[in-house]
């Protein structure tokens, strides 16, 4: 679904302080691309460079058939002519305008396009009761919701979201996550979503760009990229599998749901999902236990028959990362080197992957 020819192409280089950036990105024309990496990897600078806010970045940026920047031909489109919708990490609204004044700022300048459902967006993000409020009287979560609708209403061809949830916690965070997921389902323009939180990425992204120290270290389809064995150690915690499946059963007594996906079925905690809906679920490599045979008398609710595909050193010398094929889905398990030897595992071996339902926290 990802590799349409006319998405965002960016080849940029610049220096910022001690960090030298060298970015080569090629993003699909639809869906959400997560720009993921540890803090200080330069994700925000990269997003700003795409928007045209980093004037020192030189190189070439094109979107579809439009060239936004081509330093060799002295082409540089300023941000206001790039048709982007940018949401900054910390809410940055105009304090001299009311909520509705903020929302309509870009909408008016875009010529109130009829294909944008202004009222629908206001309702979906729960902004109707806030319209006349002053910005100073909004909570952090409310401000970020206003920022998102403000950006969406400016009729962007590309959305750039810079860790919009990172300043929030608890209810505000999960609330906004829900808004973003529903946005994902109906979004007609591509989005670049910067995050250092792998759970956010797993829930939202279709495509993944991994950054470290100003460079792109890997990019591609979300599932394939997150289960690669050759990712740099700094991304060690992120590796794991993202299962995309359908809720097929709900056990009201035990408060569990069953998620069916290519390769099997998983039980996980019920969180107000409904049977029939699609759901993503992340299985961290740490949360997978390998056994030679199916177990009886184990508390792990999920056991999946797998075949070992490959093995690689993990970031700690005591551990290895094992790539597994579970009937067509790739899983990743992080186990100790000692277990690897004691179970006499090798590529091609048949094993069972045990996954605690409680570890499937999404």
């Amino acid at each position: 679904m990802t590799d349409s020819p006319h998405g965002l192409e960016a080849k940029l280089a610049w220096r910022s302080g001690a960090l030298a950036f060298d970015i080569d990105l090629s993003l699909p024309a639809q869906g959400i691309t997560a720009l993921f990496g540890p803090s200080g990897a330069g994700k925000t600078s990269c997003l700003r460079a795409i928007a045209g806010l980093e004037q020192h970045a030189s190189g070439r940026v094109s979107f579809g058939s439009d060239v936004w920047q081509d330093s060799s031909h002295r082409v540089f489109l300023p941000p206001h002519r790039r048709r982007i919708g940018y949401v900054f990490q910390e809410p940055s609204l105009f304090t001299h305008r009311s909520v509705v004044g903020n929302l309509d700022f870009g909408y008016r300048r875009a010529g109130r396009p009829v294909h944008l459902d202004r009222d629908g967006l206001i309702d979906r993000f729960g902004l109707r009761p806030l319209l006349e409020r002053r910005i100073d009287n909004l909570s952090g979560g409310e401000r970020q919701r206003v920022s998102m609708v403000q950006a969406l209403l400016s009729d962007p061809a590309l959305l750039l979201f810079d860790e919009p949830l990172s300043a929030l916690d608890g209810a505000a965070r999960s609330d906004l996550m829900g808004c973003l997921e529903s946005l994902h389902a109906t979004l007609k323009v591509p989005m670049v979503y910067v995050s250092h939180n792998v759970d956010e990425v797993a829930r939202l992204a279709d495509h993944l760009v991994l950054m470290e120290a100003g460079h792109v270290v890997a990019q591609g389809n979300l599932q394939e990229t997150l289960t690669r064995l050759d990712l740099p150690p700094a991304l060690g915690e992120a590796v794991g599998t993202v299962i995309d499946g359908q809720v097929v059963d709900y056990d009201a007594h035990d408060q569990l749901i069953a998620l069916e996906f290519v390769g099997g079925r998983l039980w996980l905690p019920y969180r107000h999902e409904s049977v029939g809906q699609r759901l993503r679920c992340r299985i961290g490599a740490r949360d997978v236990v390998l056994t030679k045979a199916p177990q009886e008398g184990t508390s792990a609710l999920n056991q999946l028959p797998c075949r070992i595909v490959a093995v690689a050193d993990a970031d700690h010398p005591s551990q290895v990362l094992v790539q597994l094929d579970a009937g067509g889905s790739t899983l990743l398990a992080r186990i100790t080197r000692r277990s690897w030897h004691e179970l006499a595992l090798s590529p091609g071996s048949a094993v069972w992957a045990q996954v605690k339902a409680v570890a499937l926290g999404l």
Partner: protein, 227 residues
Amino acid sequence: MAVLTDADIEALGLTLRLATTVTVLLLLLGLPLAWWLAHTRSRWRRPITAVVALPLVLPPTVLGFYLLMLLGPDGAVGRAMAALGLAALPFTFKGLVVASMLYSLPFVVQPLQNAFEAVGNRPLEVAACLRAGPLDRFFSIALPLALPGVLTAAVLGFAHTVGEFGVVLMIGGNIPGQTRVLSMRIYDHVQAGEYHQANVLSLCLLVVSFAALLAMSLLRTRRHSRD
């Protein structure tokens, strides 16, 4: 108003006219200048900041003296103006306006520059990403957000122009209806031993200055309590 002579009232009117003209012109000049100073990375920023601040530390008589030299019939500007067929500026109302603008420049530019710097880049970046071009960003974002600074600049520029003396003495002289402003009139009264009239006019100045500062501070607190 038996205590005020016609000459006093004329001086009062002239002073208000001068201060209003200077304030309006200085805002028009100061807004782009302060905006540039707040955002430029040019190496000229520091020298120009220093030049703008110069009237703060320079004795007004020094400023007036050099202006007189420059604008007088033998000065560079004076000669150029004469060549263009323009009347000389010293000892005219226009000359007073020019001199007062220089003298009050820092009182207008500095609050404006501080206000623009306080607004910061972020709101402008947000506006740019919402399709607002540079002029649009200035008028719809920067100026409204910097409005308290604009008010401060206007009040300070006005009050400072009302109170000037040394520059007027050097370049304006004491011509009734042309350059005889309130501060000159007070000086005249004192010279003539008319302390009562000097006192009345001085009180006028004191009340105007106090009212201006009070109004500014009230405007500020009202904005704060709304925020």
